[in-house]
């Protein structure tokens, strides 16, 4: 139990360290950095490495944005396994990501109830 928290902390923290390196060393904007990480997640899943990482680190691997690329690829691959090449395309559209739906929903709700404050 506690070891799961520690592993989530370490793995999640390390993925963020990679992000910080992209910020500070490679001088990328947040948009570039997050896009790169999402693509990295998709590629890792293609190599079959991301699911084991989730088994290993739990939320440490599902909470960083890399898991978004993973879940998209995973959906496409699952369909492809069943229906071949066509499955890749249909799989893309079948994938649901709770991250996107939740962000859209809560984003809209937020726009109803909040105003931007804009002070440090």
């Amino acid at each position: 139990m506690i070891s799961s928290f520690i592993l989530a902390f370490i793995v999640g923290g390390l993925i963020c360290v990679i992000g910080q390196l992209l910020f500070d060393v490679a001088n990328l904007t947040p948009g570039h950095t997050l896009s790169i990480l999402v693509v990295a997640g998709a590629v890792l899943d293609g190599l079959g490495l991301y699911e084991p990482l989730i088994d290993f680190a739990g939320a440490g691997a599902t909470v960083p944005i890399t898991s978004f690329g993973n879940s998209l690829t995973h959906g496409a691959l699952r369909e492809a396994e069943e229906h071949g090449i066509i499955g890749v395309i249909t799989g893309m559209f079948e994938v649901t990501s709770s991250g996107i739906s939740a962000a859209i929903l809560f984003g809209f709700i937020a726009s109803l109830i909040f105003r931007s404050k804009g002070r440090p």
Binding site: S4, P30, L34, G46, A57, G99, G107
Partner: protein, 151 residues
């Protein structure tokens, strides 16, 4: 002073980003967010019928709900100033990007403002995520077809 000399001077004089500190802060912030995510995951697994795999979805949704409150009350940008990538890389950063855009463009109306601008920052993540997933899945499917790799 020509451009070259100036850019050397600029390199020399501009304060450097505190890299070591930033990395440590990103590690701590990102790690903490993930550990909180782990706690939420255990909550869903323990009290509801979610397995390790399926608990991911409600966990992410819960985290984004928390981010909505933090963003709305103006706290998330303070966390971000401290944590840097530690707050941007977790799905909370993605949520913050969408929610802050939605709040910000509220003044332009719900359709053109909120609807049209919500994906202004987060859109690239979705675009590249979907495209990368497509390419990766395609390549893998072809490789499997030719028997190079297995599923």
């Amino acid at each position: 002073m020509d451009q070259k000399t100036y850019s050397q001077l600029e390199q020399k004089m501009s304060p450097k980003v505190p890299l070591a500190g930033n990395l440590i802060r990103a590690f701590l912030t990102g790690g903490l967010i993930c550990a909180i995510g782990q706690g939420i995951m255990y909550f869903y697994m323990y009290f509801f019928d979610f397995t390790e795999k399926t608990a991911g979805n409600p966990t992410v949704a819960t985290l984004i709900f928390i981010v909505m409150l933090l963003t709305g009350f103006g706290k998330y940008k303070k966390i971000a100033q401290f944590g840097g990538a530690g707050s941007a890389v977790p799905v909370t950063g993605f949520g913050n990007a969408m929610i802050s855009s939605a709040i910000e463009h509220r003044t332009e109306g719900y359709v053109l403002g909120v609807g049209g601008n919500m994906f202004k920052l987060a859109g690239s993540v979705i675009v590249f995520g979907v495209f990368a997933a497509f390419v990766v899945a395609l390549i893998k499917t072809i490789l499997v077809k030719f028997g190079v790799v297995g599923w």
